[in-house]
């Protein structure tokens, strides 16, 4: 990569260009360090020898095979864990799209008593560390008879306060004339909310949906506390997979790849939405 590398600032001074090359090399090293463990995960997952463990004289698993993946579904209930994860994440995402939209719309457009107090409850909840809830939520879910059911992983997480904040901000930025025009046309409240405003909110709802799906797909703490065998999700199954003495790395990493591939695909398609979802709290706040 001598003089001709495209993209390096061509007209800058020589020292500036030298600095750019150095920075680029530094970034490249960090990139390798960040990505290599994942490449390694796939290599081990595809190992031909399922009994392989790392050691000084056997540092690369030999052979290639998809057997470790298929055995996850035949010898173990990983198909069910996968479905549980996908189902819970999808339903929670759907619920958040609709419910956060309704609540966020109300905070943006409606007048009602104690509005400030109500909105404060949304912001205050964002400050509560999740772990404080593990004991009381476990007790509550048991009292409701929801332990180890889908309800335990769906209902408490159906309205994410961050979603309300995002929707409120977005709806507030829409011109109110749209709604006035709709009223003159004789549209009712429901038609305005669902027929006019909701379609306009598509960008912010997409950001919210991807964020919620991703969070719930990766979630460990609450699924771990609130479920057992029946609705075990992939991350919980992975954490339980590991025996203390010997570890079956090829199968474990095949399962870990199974949990990773969907979010990587999601990221490849929706990088922009994921990034704006993650920085939404920071830029405005």
């Amino acid at each position: 990569m001598s003089t001709g590398m495209r993209g390096f600032t061509a007209k800058s001074s020589a020292p500036r260009q030298a600095a750019d090359y150095l920075i680029w090399a530094g970034l490249f090293v960090v990139l390798v360090l960040m990505v290599a463990p994942f490449v390694w995960m796939f290599v081990v997952a595809l190992a031909g020898d399922a009994a392989w463990t790392p050691s000084a004289d056997d540092w690369l698993p030999g052979g290639w095979s998809f057997a470790n993946f298929s055995e996850l579904f035949t010898a173990q209930p990983f198909g069910m864990y996968f479905i549980n994860s996908a189902l819970v994440a999808a339903v929670v995402t759907g619920a958040n799209i609709v419910l956060c939209f309704l609540v966020g719309y109300a905070f943006a457009r409606r007048e009602f008593p104690l509005k400030k107090t109500a909105y404060f409850s949304v912001l205050a909840v964002l400050m509560v560390p999740a772990y404080v809830l593990i004991i009381p939520l476990f007790i509550l879910i048991n009292a409701l008879g929801w332990y180890d059911t889908y309800l335990a992983l769906i209902v408490p997480f159906a309205v994410n306060p961050l979603g309300i904040v995002l929707v409120r901000q977005y709806v507030s930025s829409l011109p109110i004339d749209l709604e006035h025009a709709a009223v003159l046309d004789g549209a009712g409240a429901l038609r305005i909310v669902f027929g006019i405003i909701m379609p306009l909110c598509r960008p912010v709802l997409a950001v919210l949906a991807i964020q919620i799906f991703w969070l719930n797909w990766n979630s460990f703490l609450f699924p771990f506390i609130l479920t057992d065998q029946n609705v075990r999700t992939l991350p919980v199954a992975l954490a339980m997979f590991r025996g203390y003495q010997t570890v079956d790395w090829p199968h474990l990493f095949a399962a870990a790849s199974l949990a990773t591939i969907p979010v990587v695909v999601l990221f490849l398609f929706f990088q922009r939405q994921i990034i704006s979802g993650l920085t939404a709290g920071a830029v405005k706040g």
Binding site: A56, A118, V128, P136, E179, F220, A259, G285
Partner: protein
């Protein structure tokens, strides 16, 4: 101008209902219940509930396990947050330059954050285990014992988890810094160029001061998040060896769900909650102070 349907209270109440139910049932009530439990002995198996007043809070501060967990948690926060912040800032400054493949860098740095914590933790169990790549590397540098992996080594275990946390979170905070960098008006740099400012002067006099709000945000949320470390500990070490990696949330989990002392565990949870609040307020004040002192 009046908002259409702005005063239809019944409809408004219907719109708000999902949040009112969620807030009351899954936030307010559990938080209150947990506060109530922290003044009681409560065993979920027998259902026995006895009022003990503030005893749990007193006992926590003479409980060697809790104190060690608290100490480990502080070591974790103090050790990781500054390193992560500086690394993330450096990566953001690098990626913000017009370099080839910057999109690839930005995406690649973000992959660890994208992945489930459990997956990352398992990857590092593999790398840290006896004969794993990082254990072998540490041995070559004379930093590890030959006969046990890094996570079974009392002196190395917590540091190993901290190193992993820095590796995972740098990419996320890099994104936040990038968002902050992109909000700095370009003409400030143009003016600095006109004044003949060097790259270092531009960094020190334009970039860093204008990044201060974002830096505060990054430090605050990373601190709050780091105080709550649990999943990594559960998957990688179960608090071991001999409590060397036990953290407060891990302590809460063990007391509540393994020893079934849910009142005591709730008290520990609230102590950490107040520690997090206090530290957040102090950090916000410190940043505010420095900002005022500079003007």
């Amino acid at each position: 101008m009046r908002v259409p349907h702005g005063k239809q209270w019944a409809g408004t109440f219907g719109l708000l209902l999902p949040w009112l139910i969620t807030f009351a049932m899954f936030w307010l009530y559990p938080l209150a219940h947990s506060a109530f439990l922290s003044f009681h002995d409560y065993n979920p198996l027998s259902g026995a509930m006895d009022f003990v007043g503030g005893l749990h809070f007193l006992r926590l501060f003479s409980d060697a396990d809790f104190l060690q967990a608290l100490k480990n948690t502080f070591v974790f926060v103090v050790g990781t947050v500054p390193v992560t912040t500086i690394l993330a800032l450096a990566l953001a400054l690098g990626v913000n330059r017009k370099l080839p493949l910057r999109g690839l860098f930005r995406a690649g740095f973000f992959v660890p954050t994208l992945t489930a914590t459990v997956v990352v933790a398992l990857l590092f169990v593999h790398l840290y285990t006896q004969g794993g790549y990082l254990h072998t590397l540490a041995r070559m540098l004379g930093l590890a014992e030959a006969d046990r992996g890094l996570l079974l080594d009392e002196r190395a275990a917590l540091l190993s988890v901290m190193a992993m946390d820095i590796w995972v979170s740098a990419g996320y905070y890099m994104l936040l810094f990038l968002a902050g960098l992109q909000q700095i008006p370009r003409d400030l740099y143009d003016q600095a160029d006109l004044c003949g400012a060097s790259a270092w002067q531009k960094l020190r006099l334009v970039t860093l001061p204008l990044l201060k709000p974002m830096t505060l945000y990054v430090v605050l949320i990373n601190t709050i998040k780091s105080f709550q470390i649990f999943t990594e500990i559960f998957v990688m070490t179960q608090g071991g060896p001999v409590g060397a990696t036990s953290t407060v949330v891990y302590f809460v989990y063990r007391e509540g769900f393994e020893k079934f002392r849910m009142g005591y565990a709730s008290a520990a949870a609230y102590v950490l909650f107040f520690v997090i609040l206090a530290v957040s307020i102090i950090q916000a004040r410190l940043f505010g102070f420095f900002q005022r002192a500079e003007r």
